[in-house]
Amino acid sequence: MVSLDLLLNALAAGLLLGGFYAAVSLGISMAFGLLDIVNIAHPVFVILGSYAAYIMNARFGFDPILTGVLFTPVFYVLGVVLYRIYYASFERKGAESLRGLVFFFGVLFIVEVSLLLAFGVDYRMVEARYIGESIHIGPVGLAYRLLVPFVVGVMLTGALYWFLARTFYGRAVQAVAQDAFALRLMGANPFKVKSIAFGLAIATAALAGALLIMIGPVEPALNREYIGRVFAVAVLGGMGSISGTLVAALLLGVAESLTATFSGPSWSVAVSFAVLLLALAVRPAGLFGR
């Protein structure tokens, strides 16, 4: 039963990959779905998180997860500052959509080029004792370099879900794009609410980046490969839905893994676009969109 083992292993690897995809997509889903901020630069912040993990690992021997946690507040502040610039230059003037897109494209470009200048085009990676190892459950092998990102990705998703569903600021985040004026009548300041939310969206990239470089080597232009994937996940999940993002990410992970196993890895990138197109055609609001 070699093919059954192969199938089980492909399924397991896909699920693990999916937990990681959720971590990468949360920020996009939040920005587009809850804040109406067209932050197409999100994947490049994930890459930035990867380089943070790389430097701290190469210089000080830090575990990538530790770096991800340490840099989460740094990325939060980065997100808040970025939102304030965006707000002052575009949102306040009511010119957000198209010019906002140009703004975030510019941010993407600047960060990518800065990384290129600082680190070159070489692939970088991190070292940690557990990265090459795996555990076996029956015929299924779970590599730590996928298992750890899965666990951390699911925990990150859970934390964000808890924040949005259970805290006062979280509920305000869910409301702010629907009616910012009404939110003021509830006693909340929409600008502050969006600052916090965008800060958190960017903050997720610190951990997601650490996970990315744990899974495989990273170079500055890798964000381009991820843009299609994160959009597929966010659209399929229903923009702004955190639980939807997780389910969609797991689905995409499994779909990619099965494709890579049975048709060859070169097909797996096409899977995300197929999923994206299918989602747009069949259910534009996504699986969990409201």
Binding site: A175, D179, M186, G187, A188
Partner: protein, 243 residues
């Protein structure tokens, strides 16, 4: 509950070059239900917006008096008013359509001072509007106009307000519902020891619950008095209320 009173003196306000309010003075005393009567376009909403900090008056005073303290309201943001205990049920309800009934209500409790009262306030809301309990998981945008108005009032009550401002709760509702919403405002007012200022065009419904009223015409107070006097006033009957 702290005693709170609203005082407006010679308020002049408008939009750009257009002046809408020409020296309006009103008082809303603690525990009163005051109704602001007037047909469309006479400045009811503008006055409410001035109190709430949404429109900034060009001249005049707006103050909240509470525990012998006088708080100047002009220049404060709407969210500050909520923290001072003044909550508005706005024109057009302004619910969050893609959030559930319960999520809308919880947002009403954003005010720090209201957070410890959530369980109690939620119970009172559901008691006053049982339909909100059975629809708590439904999206606000999918409810009927009457249910949405109830939710808007319930959401405002979640902030434990001292002063409740209500802008035309009757708009878009069937007559029977108008009557129900208005009488519920009265019940809630008694139960919560609220002070209420309500803008309405529907004279007959509004006077059912009002202690006092002001008639606003072209941005000026044309008549003020106790409810009995209002109903007797010929001018009011004939010209402004179309009776």
């Amino acid at each position: 509950m702290v005693g709170s009173r609203l005082v407006l003196r010679d308020v002049e306000a408008g939009y750009g070059a257009v002046r809408v309010l020409h020296g309006v003075s009103i008082d809303v005393n603690e525990g009163e239900t005051v109704v602001l009567l007037g047909t469309n376009g006479n400045g009811k909403s503008t006055l409410i917006k001035c109190i709430m900090g949404i429109v900034r008056p060009e001249r005049g005073e707006i103050a909240l008096e509470r525990d012998g303290e006088r708080i100047d309201l002009i220049g404060r943001a709407p969210e500050d008013m909520v923290h001072l205990g003044i909550t508005l049920v706005p024109e057009g309800r302004r619910l969050f359509p893609k959030l559930t009934v319960e999520e809308n209500l919880m947002l009403g409790a954003f005010r720090a001072a209201a957070r410890r009262d959530i369980a109690k306030n939620l119970d009172l809301c559901f008691e006053a509007f049982p339909v909100l309990r059975s629809r708590r998981r439904q999206l606000a945008g999918s409810m009927s106009g009457g249910e949405q108005q109830m939710l808007a009032i319930g959401r405002a009550l979640m902030s434990t307000p001292a002063i409740l401002l209500v802008d035309e709760p009757s708009v878009g509702l069937a007559p029977l519902l108008v009557s129900r919403v208005i009488t519920t405002i009265r019940d809630l007012k008694e139960r919560y020891h609220l002070t209420v200022l309500m803008a309405e065009q529907n004279f007959n419904q509004a006077v059912k619950i009002a202690d006092r009223g002001y008639v606003i015409v072209h941005g000026q107070i044309a008549f003020e008095g106790r409810t009995e006097d209002l109903t007797e006033h010929e001018l009011v009957k004939k010209y402004y209320l179309g009776l």
